[in-house]
Amino acid sequence: MESTAPAPAITLRPLSAPAAIPAAPGSAVAPAGETLIDIDHVDFFYGAVQALHDISLHIEHKKVTAFIGPSGCGKSTLLRCFNRMNDLIDGTRVASGTIKIRGIDIHRPDVDVIELRKRVGMVFQKSNPFPKSIYENITYGLKLQGVNNAARLDEVVEKSLRGAALWNEVKDRLHTSGLGLSGGQQQRLCIARAIAVEPEIILMDEPCSALDPVATAKVEELIQSLRERYTIVIVTHNMQQAARCSDSTAFFYMGKLIEYAPTRDIFMNPASPQTEAYVSGRFG
């Protein structure tokens, strides 16, 4: 199963990240802040297989929420519910319960999935820049919305790349292929592409699992700078990452939400023995 070696946490902690355990200021017992995503008793099925069992949790506005748990525990499945990416897989369904974003049930028939996905951006586990230039990668989402003004596009490209801490590295080669970048740069390009369409929420599905420690540190730094403007939900295998980056952490096991609490409590003072066993590396 996943490696849970705790040692690298100390050496890899990025400078700008908050100390891992004292967690972010202002996060009391979840849910405390303004609720942005409200998940209420959700059961989710892949065909006949139930992947999520009665999940209820509140994700706070402009906070970083981490989902942790062993492989197959349903954390990615839940994440992909928030922008309805699961719709793409045949035979999937939310059998009961509701997911509300800003009070709107996103599975209501009058919800426009396209509009939802503009508001809820996503960064994937495997960085997937399109085989186009860096510039075209960033402008892809805007062009879909009919934005064709060159000055406006230039502006968004610079803003997004600066936002993704990539501008200085690529400003001289905006028109070369996005696939010519290193793995970490590619992942930051994908983040830049996601923020170019000004989403409210950014979902990150194990964004660092394919990156080396240095690139991981950069992405984590970026997450810290993004938390001011966006609500971020991050799925991770790396518990140190959850500890370093997030305000709240939800621990999933076998499709069930075991514990959801401020990150500090999950790691220092877990309520459930299963959480305690997982975060201390005794299983998973």
Binding site: I114, F130, K132, Y140, G141, L144, L179, C190, A194
Partner: protein, 347 residues
């Protein structure tokens, strides 16, 4: 070598002997295939060369490449053996009244050239590939991107696979019954286009589907996650990357469309057309409803439909040579196009 009886000493054994026998069996089979191919190509190349090229300037037999077929007249004139095409012979007789009653042997289609056949084949390829690619890519996109896997889709796939195995003469009969008789298009370019298009459709669909499958799922997900509709995703982020592969498949299609005789035999091919397809049209729509000459059918006609002699062989091999050259040229053009596109979209 000091110790001849070390652990790894090679000893003759049945295993070692069979190993080398098997190696030579495979190598021999490969060389045999190569030899057959070389013999066929060299035969056509050498025999066709003398028809298509000549020793005098401009070195290319322009008559053969730019004129329509005509009859060849062979006669003796002032002790010399003369060979002349129909038109040339008439002019000759006018100039030399004494030749008016000269005894001559005539051989049909053995003089002139094959220009109308080249034109016809090119028209057939362009039209049928346009139809096949349009229909085929649409079907492949539907099957691969939209359709949900189920019994019906599996049945459709099976039908497509089976279609690929249908002999081309059956397509010819189908086209004859459907387009020539039922639709009343007669023997026409249009009937030939559709017949050939249906024949290559399975190749185009299967290969297009393969190239669509080769586009990573991440590109689709990434695009959809940015708020693209399905069609926007396919148009901007899937099809452009699949295009090189689709073009590769159409190379195979072009070779087949250009090469098949059976499907056009009843549907599109004429034995002889004196006018080029764009000549003598009363209405522009007549263009689509006329038969055309075609290279493979011309080879068939000059090889099987007329008495064989030393003169027919020249036309046969000359036509085959030009035919192979054209197919090779189209293939080369498609490969260049594909390489260009592939360099533009690499992942």
């Amino acid at each position: 070598m000091a110790d001849p009886t070390h652990h790894f000493q090679a000893r003759p054994s049945a295993l070692r002997r069979s190993e080398s026998a098997i190696f030579w069996l495979f190598r021999g089979a490969t060389y045999l295939v190569l030899l057959c191919g070389a013999v066929v190509f060299l035969n056509i190349f050498i025999k066709g060369l003398s028809t298509v090229f000549q020793t005098k300037a401009p070195f290319v037999n322009t008559t053969f490449l730019t004129e329509a077929p005509e009859s060849l007249y062979v006669f003796e004139w002032q002790g010399k053996k003369m060979e002349m095409g129909d038109k040339e012979f008439r002019v000759f007789k006018e100039r030399n009244p004494a030749a008016a009653n000269v005894k001559s042997e005539s051989y049909v289609y053995c003089a002139g050239g094959i220009f109308p056949c080249i034109v016809g084949t090119v028209l057939l390829v362009i039209g049928s590939m346009t139809i096949a690619l349009t229909l085929g890519v649409c079907a492949a996109v539907y099957l691969n991107e939209y359709a949900r896997d189920g019994t019906f889709i599996r049945f459709v796939r099976l039908a497509i696979l089976n279609l690929a195995g249908v002999p081309s003469i059956v397509f010819g009969l189908f086209g004859y019954g459907m387009f020539v008789i039922f639709f009343g298009w007669n023997t026409s370019l249009l009937a030939g286009w559709f017949t050939l298009a249906f024949m290559v459709l399975p190749v185009v669909i299967t290969a297009s589907e393969e190239s669509l499958k080769a586009v990573p799922k991440g590109f689709r997900e990434g695009s959809l996650a940015l708020g693209a509709t399905k069609w926007q995703t396919i148009r901007k982020n899937v099809l452009p990357y699949a295009l090189p592969g689709i073009l590769t498949s159409s190379i195979l299609g072009i070779a087949r469309v250009a090469g098949e005789t059976a499907p056009i035999m009843f549907t599109a091919a004429s034995v002889l057309r004196t006018q080029l397809p764009w000549q003598g049209l009363t209405r522009w729509t007549d263009f689509f409803f006329q038969g055309v000459m075609a290279l493979p059918y011309h080879i068939y006609v000059v090889s099987a439909k007329i008495p064989q002699n030393e003169y027919t062989e020249r036309v046969q091999y000359g036509t085959a040579f030009v035919f192979l050259f054209i197919v090779a040229l189209t293939a080369a053009a498609s490969i260049v196009l594909r390489t260009r596109l592939r360099n533009r979209y690499k992942w």
